[in-house]
């Protein structure tokens, strides 16, 4: 089973690696377009299948990981060689080959979209291994994109999906020498297994996001952004805030401004803690459920429309369950006497889990922001932004990404938001410093395929002379027109969704 898929992917990768930019652009556009068109359908399917999250929010991520991604990388070129006369070098992009993509249950289809489009932009073949809890929607999505890509000229087998992702099979796949790189998003065990596999792996660890609000913050705005971000997709993302750290001086006012967030009493917090963490272990029934339902399970009455439960505690230490990642809209709250102590508290939260991932800060004081960024061991800090869409680049200018590198602090070789560039290497043609540099203008080693790849095995005595092929997708408009169109689409869709 595994062997056939990877072998097929290897053939597809071999063919794809010779495609030129025009062909790649067409394929990426076709796959991105069908992904965007199905964003809402797969969002609903994912919620139905996993029981996690909010369809509307998942739709937004699916759009961000299709239309958004295309717009973001419209001007980029991961295909054409670049000659640089100043350094007397030519750089030729070289795709990884076969990408094995592990995708999570929490952020299922968006991650499938994301990894597939990155692979297509960089001329890689990809085998998607979805989390078993989300395998139906993810397989269907991968197949939909595969069909569109192949119809637009991509080689057969360029996108495949593991239909029955069981652990032994996934481990076998990860260790297979036919895999060029593993891109693993998921729980710590899966990520560790990817790194152990012997194959190059870009694995990303879990988050446990502290958010600091200091006395200089625009409290009104901070309150709104934190509630929106914490409740986004019912808080199952690794980027949702986990612990709110707030300076005492502004704490009461901040909480009073957090519309939709319900502050729990000490007694209620105790009951919630026991409900969510029976025997100190998180009960997975609560993953991605909404705040009202969770409160009900703990016997707590909350007003209708409650989106976040605020659970105060005193000290971020390992035995405090509320200081861990919660994967549901329960936000731990720590009051601190000063921003300095707040930075200490954020470090404490990350000692428990989530090092290398992300944090957020709401402040207008660059000095505090700088100190926070320098002291807190994460690789991205959302500033005056909610982290769920900030860390993943939707509401910040970070690269849009569903795969957040946690770097050395987080046990990963990838430290940035995963980008297309991570899936290629560059061959450098380097001249002797004294030798005259060649003229490479107009030289492109790649070409567009003529007809389907591979061609159907007609008997050689019946093979039709290949007709001049017309691409199936709207390339007639030219890449620039296409890009403008994509940009327009994404702006429209994001505007209508993100700011309801």
């Amino acid at each position: 089973m595994s062997n056939g898929m990877l072998r097929r992917a290897q053939w597809a990768a071999r063919a794809f690696a010779g495609y030129d930019r025009a062909a790649v652009d067409r394929i990426v556009a076709a796959a991105g377009e069908v992904a965007a068109r199905n964003a809402a359908r797969y969002a609903e399917w994912a919620v139905r299948e996993t029981g996690f999250g909010v369809a509307e929010h998942k739709t937004l991520k699916n759009v961000a990981c299709s239309t958004g991604l295309l717009a973001e990388y419209a001007g980029h070129d991961y295909v054409s060689p670049r000659a640089d006369a100043a350094t007397k070098t030519v750089s030729v992009p070289r795709p990884a080959g076969v990408v094995l993509a592990l995708t999570p249950s929490t952020n299922p289809v968006a991650t499938v979209y994301f990894k597939i489009l990155l692979a297509l932009m960089t001329r890689n073949a990809i085998v998607v291994s979805p989390h078993p809890m989300a395998k139906e929607c993810c397989s269907d999505a991968a197949r939909t994109l595969a069909e569109a890509a192949v119809a637009a000229g991509a080689p057969d087998g360029v996108i495949q999906v593991v239909e029955d992702p069981r652990l032994p099979l996934i481990e076998e796949l990860m260790a297979d020498p036919l895999v060029s790189v593993i891109v693993a998003t998921g729980g710590t065990p899966v990520v560790r297994a990817a790194h152990r596999s012997g194959n190059p792996a870009l694995g990303v660890g879990p988050g446990n996001v502290p958010v600091l609000v200091d006395r200089t913050a625009d409290l009104e705005r901070a309150a709104r952004l934190i509630v929106d971000s914490k409740s986004f997709d019912n808080s199952i993302l690794c980027t949702n805030e986990s612990v709110l750290i707030v300076e005492d001086a502004v704490a009461d006012r901040l909480v009073s401004l957090m519309r939709g967030a319900h502050p729990l009493s000490a007694g209620e917090t105790g009951r919630l803690r026991e409900t969510l963490f029976p025997g100190g272990v998180f009960d997975p029934r609560f993953v991605g459920k909404d705040a009202g339902w969770i409160a009900g399970q703990a016997g707590i009455r909350v007003p209708a429309g409650t989106r976040v439960l605020l659970a105060p505690f005193d000290l971020a230490v390992p035995e405090e369950p509320l200081a861990h990642e919660k994967l549901c809209p329960v936000l731990g709250v720590l009051r601190v006497p000063s921003a300095e102590r707040g930075i200490d508290a954020a470090r404490a939260v990350l000692r428990i889990a989530g090092a290398g991932h992300s944090a957020a800060i709401h402040s207008t004081d660059p000095r505090t922001i700088m100190e926070f960024g320098a002291a807190v061991p994460v690789l991205r800090v959302s500033v005056n932004a909610g982290n769920s869409l900030g860390g993943s680049g939707v509401h910040t200018n970070l690269p849009i990404s569903m795969t957040i590198g946690t770097g050395y602090a987080g046990g990963s070789s990838a430290g940035a938001n995963l980008q297309p560039g991570d899936l290629i290497n560059w061959t450098r043609l380097a001249y002797h410093v004294d030798a005259p540099f060649g003229d490479f203008t107009g030289l492109d080693p790649w070409s567009s395929p003529e007809g389907p790849v591979p061609r159907y095995p007609e008997p050689s005595n019946a093979r039709a002379v290949p007709a001049a092929t017309a691409p199936a997708t709207p390339a007639a408009a030219g890449p620039d027109a296409l890009r403008a169109e994509i940009r327009r689409l994404i702006l429209e869709e994001l505007a209508s969704m993100a700011r309801r």
Partner: protein
């Protein structure tokens, strides 16, 4: 020392000597004289190793027996697991494994197939097909093409070249008519008397060097069969099991055969078995007298398990895709080599990974075979047309091995040209 536990030899020379003394002096000497003194030791994937340790890429694959590679791990695992529970079985009784394989062959087979009859080799399966055709039509005559090869058993040998029947006084010209390939007029002449039970056709005649049926030829033959009430037997022993990019090559012609024969590859290369798929019309004798064809080993249960696994692997979309990719690459590579060898490498006969390479010399393929062997590739000349080399890369080939194979082939073909002309 070549020590294998149960048996041992002091050297390769001793193997060859004893092979001549106790087994087959003709064959043993033939290969020595041909410059291919191969005694196969280790075998794995698409590699064979001579007892001397030399590695060869196998593109003979015994006509597709090793389609999935030598000792394919999935197939071997299925056999090992089956051996813990099954054995050959009792051929008289309904059986678990035989039934499962029959169902799988019918459900994945060409439309119109109804029942499966088993043999332990291709020749026996062909005999079953011919007997079935005679029973169904009440007629005795069988038409095949000149230089056909359907095996050497009692009836099958009659359909083939005289060389193999006359020696054993087994030629029966009154029952077995041979007509030239790609000649519909000759075929019609043979069928016009309405006394023919069946036409038997390799979809691409292997031992004849894979001459391709001209577009419309097989379709025409099928049409003639219908007109003159003869059955169409598709011998897919070499062309079946995804080799042409579809499970059965005959379906690429849109033909529904009355009977289809598979062998070789269906064994997974590890347990002998062959099978005949017949239409409902041809299945009558199985009801009339189910004991009419008997063979102790036919449909041995271990073989059925292996065949079931093999069929499943062949049928995977991944396998089909690999065959399409590999045919494309190898086809283009061979075209390039052909351009570099004008006047010598004169033709490529290709349908998927069924490939014949044609050389401008009466024994051209023997030279190329020898040069390929010297350069690490094992491919065999066509017995019935030694101008043509049979070139059958594995259906699970990987791109780097395909490239390596083409490099070796280019060199060998060039060298063979010098050799043949000197």
């Amino acid at each position: 020392m070549l020590d294998y536990g149960l048996f041992a030899y002091a050297s390769k020379d001793e193997v060859l000597e004893k092979s001549s003394a106790y087994w087959n002096p003709g064959k043993t000497q033939f290969w020595i004289d041909s410059g291919v003194p191969l005694v196969i030791d280790r075998r794995e994937g698409y590699f064979l190793y001579d007892v001397s340790g030399r590695r060869l890429i196998d593109v003979h694959l015994n006509g597709g027996t090793y389609n999935l590679g030598h000792r394919n791990p999935e197939v071997v695992a299925a056999l090992k697991q089956a051996a813990d529970h099954f054995d050959i079985g009792n051929h008289h009784f309904p059986s678990l494994a035989r039934t499962a394989l029959a169902e799988a062959l019918i459900t994945t087979g060409p439309e119109g197939m109804s029942k499966v009859i088993y043999g332990s080799g291709g020749g026996e399966a062909i005999d079953i097909a011919l007997k079935t055709a005679r029973h169904t039509t009440g007629k005795r005559k069988i038409v095949s093409i000149v230089k056909a090869y359907h095996g050497h058993t009692g009836l099958a040998v009659g359909t083939g070249d005289d060389r193999f029947s006359k020696l054993f006084l087994a030629d029966r010209p009154e029952e077995f008519a041979h007509v030239p390939f790609n000649d519909l007029a000759a075929m019609e002449a043979a069928l016009r008397g309405r006394d023919v039970a069946a036409v038997i056709m390799e979809t691409i005649p292997a031992t004849y060097g894979f001459p391709l049926p001209e577009p419309g030829y097989l379709e025409g033959v099928k049409g003639l069969c219908e007109t003159y009430d003869a059955l169409y037997i598709a011998d897919e022993v070499q062309t079946g099991l995804m080799r042409t990019g579809e499970l059965w090559a005959i379906t690429k012609h849109g033909i529904q055969p009355d009977i289809l024969v598979t062998g070789k590859g269906i064994s997974g290369g590890v347990y002998p078995i062959a099978a005949v798929l017949v239409s409902e019309r041809c299945a009558g004798w199985l009801t009339e007298d189910g004991f009419a064809h008997m063979a102790t080993f036919g449909g041995a249960e271990l073989g059925c398990v292996v065949a079931l696994k093999t069929l499943e692997i062949c049928n995977r979309p991944e396998t089909r895709s690999i065959v399409h990719h590999a045919s494309d690459l190898i086809g283009r590579g061979l075209e390039r080599i052909q351009r570099d060898n004008p006047g010598w490498f004169t033709g490529i006969r290709q349908n998927g990974l069924v490939i014949g390479l044609e050389f401008d010399h009466p024994e051209g393929a023997k030279h190329v075979m020898r040069q390929l062997y010297a350069n690490g590739v094992w491919a065999i000349f066509s017995t019935l047309d030694p101008r043509v080399l049979q070139y059958k890369p594995g259906i699970l080939l990987d791109p780097s091995l395909a490239e390596e194979l083409l490099d070796r082939t280019a060199l060998a073909i060039g060298r063979a040209a010098e050799e043949a002309r000197s």
